[in-house]
Symmetry: C2
Subunit: 136 residues, 2 copies
DNA sequence: ATCATTGCAAACACTTTGCATACGC
DNA sequence: GCGTATGCAAAGTGTTTGCAATGAT
């Protein structure tokens, strides 16, 4: 597996402690965290960490194409590292967000009603496998 | 066409000037406005209108099922009245949001990877018909 | 020494809350 | 008159900005 530092360099980003830890976190935990969740997770490890740095870093990563910024179902931005085609599913009970590996080429490079489609985001909502178990 | 007051009563909402105007606006202008856009559009007509009332009203309408609150592509909530099945398309150039009448029953009442799907939101992004014309 | 990154504090934008006033039946 | 809707002001979130201190080469 490629090292975090390699990935940063490939994207023309100078490695720093904070940047490495943040990207590492996003690569390890595919939980679509918010900036605040990332901050909370890392501040024990880097006590001087500031939220500003987290925001700056996420912005840089997103601009350079390492991360994807998601507006899923609520009014907050979530970030993810995974770039493989997939869709999102959010459980209405436990609020967990799952990646589903349903590729969805339906609209790729296509014209729909005369509009040129460049991206598509499919967000599903319902009750997840685990919560269904608890219900029954 | 059903009157706004009828619709309100059907949903157990006491009609008031503000409520009527807000729902009227959303029924007439299918632009997926934010709370602020609605406020700006109506404040000339109702000079005493407050944003709190707009927020309260949108919340009530959403809870009672008259409106749908959308987290489309940015970090802000947009509201729509239209409940027919459709998907959203946002132009990356002019930022306009279109409704596309592609019903999308693909995932309806379905289990995907063991999760029970209750809602789906399909958001497309690209260049709209009009902006394509300007480009060429 | 230079240039970029970090991080505090303050500003900002959007939304919610507390509460007194006003309205409608 | 009573109960609800309204709207001001203040508080609460999530995020951005200005800028001085720090860090890396």
């Amino acid at each position: 597996m490629k090292s975090i530092i390699e990935i940063l360099k490939e994207h023309d980003i100078a490695p720093s402690m904070q940047r490495v830890k943040i990207l590492e976190y996003l690569r390890n935990y595919k939980t679509h965290p918010t900036a605040d969740m990332i901050y909370q997770a890392l501040v024990d490890d880097i006590p001087t960490l500031s939220k500003t740095t987290v925001y700056n870093t996420l912005k840089t990563f997103t601009e350079k194409g390492i991360l994807l910024a998601l507006s899923l179902f609520e009014n907050e931005v979530r970030y993810e590292y995974n770039k493989d085609p997939h869709i999102h599913f959010k459980c209405m009970k436990c609020n967990k967000i799952y990646d589903l590996n349903h590729s969805f080429d339906h609209y790729n490079d296509n014209l729909v009603d005369g509009h040129k489609i460049l991206e598509h985001h499919v967000n599903l909502k319902g009750i997840c496998k685990d919560c269904l178990k608890v219900e029954n």
